[in-house]
Symmetry: C2
Subunit: 245 residues, 2 copies
């Protein structure tokens, strides 16, 4: 069996997230069904860098799967995409080392959270951002976010999940930028806790609205208590941008 | 009754076009229903600058309607949008002269046709562009398009429609530009024939692919025969950008 590495994007709007769940349309199951049809193999299992939740999008998700597939390399990409619906697109496929594991081998992931705070929302962005009726102070959000960079216990920024060993992660990059009516929060880390980016986004939105002073973010981090942080921002603003190996 | 002028955008993906048709979800009917609920009036008729077809989008559609509405100006926009689904957004509402007619008073309209010709399509653009597997020569398309500017009989570029008096129109601006994997064709004219922009797009795509020489466009224009032009490009790449009065 060969071990294939794929990089893919998907519009998460019409998926109940990555992971296969009986009775729901998921990215994993849609991919596996397409690969089973393509390869004629009874069971192809696709292993992603990580799950994404319902409504979350990906521009650079990475996954691997084992298959005896013997289509020539230059025809492989077209063949896979021909079996996929238009809301999943594979951008590259390459044979990887037998030991490559898209989940365990990921050393960093970059997520982007997108907010739109124009005077009226955009009908084209309704599934691809978090709308804010109030204009946010992106510069204050950027300053407030600085304390999150580095190695910390992010327990205040996770939705608790059974069997989690540790809430310590390292954020290697965190930036808040604005262009026109769009604000995006980029967070790159060596790993993410459940709902971590969405909780950071919800917290920074409270700062941007002026509900909280910039210094509140450092306090939240210190107390290690989820109840102190802001709300979990909606899924449709979140994009998995890049996975580094 | 006051005469209100609105500027609105809509994502045409889930509408069977602008015009009310029994049994279908249309922009006109959705707007009229919302305005009837808001005003409490039995019948509000919304008159647009022009119809858009199923799947066609608008960023700057203009329409007018008569109503006895007495909500203060600063609350009007919020009140209307609160009654609309997320795929229609009204960006401005102002009282116009009693004589204002969004259809008859339009002196120019600007449409944009969007094409994506990257190595793989984008799942996020699947409803908002025409995908092209082959890389197009946008510079050749731009040169070929020049002959269409000005006052001509555009009979070769229209889907015939009953009772059309004349196929003579004036294109005041026609430009083809590329940024990355996206090409957009802007066409501004004093009026448009049925499927005119989509037929121009389909013709220029043939030139961009190298099927036809640049000189072919002038020949098509001259023969005044729809059969000579390229195919009607798909609706989802078309956006009504701006209406000038």
């Amino acid at each position: 069996m060969r071990n294939f590495k794929i990089v893919l994007s998907y519009d998460g709007s019409d998926f109940q997230g990555w992971q296969t769940q009986p009775g729901y349309r998921t990215v994993q199951e849609t991919l596996e069904t397409a690969l089973q049809t393509l390869t004629g193999e009874a069971r192809v299992r696709v292993n992603a860098s990580g799950r994404t939740d319902a409504g979350v999008h990906a521009l650079g998700q990475v996954a691997n799967f084992f298959s005896g597939l013997h289509i020539p390399q230059h025809k492989l990409l077209g063949a896979i995409n021909a079996h996929l619906p238009a809301d999943i697109v594979v951008h590259s496929i390459d044979e990887a080392a037998q030991s490559f594991d898209a989940n365990h081998d990921a050393i960093r992931k970059l997520y982007r959270y997108v907010i739109h705070d124009g005077p009226t929302p955009s009908p084209f962005l309704r599934k691809y951002c978090c709308p804010s009726k109030r204009r946010l102070d992106a510069a204050a959000m950027a300053r407030a976010a600085i304390v999150l960079e580095g190695r910390h216990d992010f327990h205040s920024f996770e939705t608790e999940w059974p069997n989690r060993m540790s809430s310590v992660r390292t954020i290697t990059h965190l930036a808040v930028n604005r262009a026109g009516d769009t604000i995006w929060i980029d967070v790159e880390a060596d790993g993410f806790l459940y709902n971590m980016v969405r909780t950071i986004a919800g917290t920074l939105i409270h700062v941007g609205r002026g509900y909280w002073p910039e210094s509140k973010v450092a306090e939240i981090l210190k107390v290690e208590d989820r109840a102190e942080a802001g709300p979990t921002a909606p899924a449709q603003g979140l994009f998995l941008m890049r996975v580094t190996y």
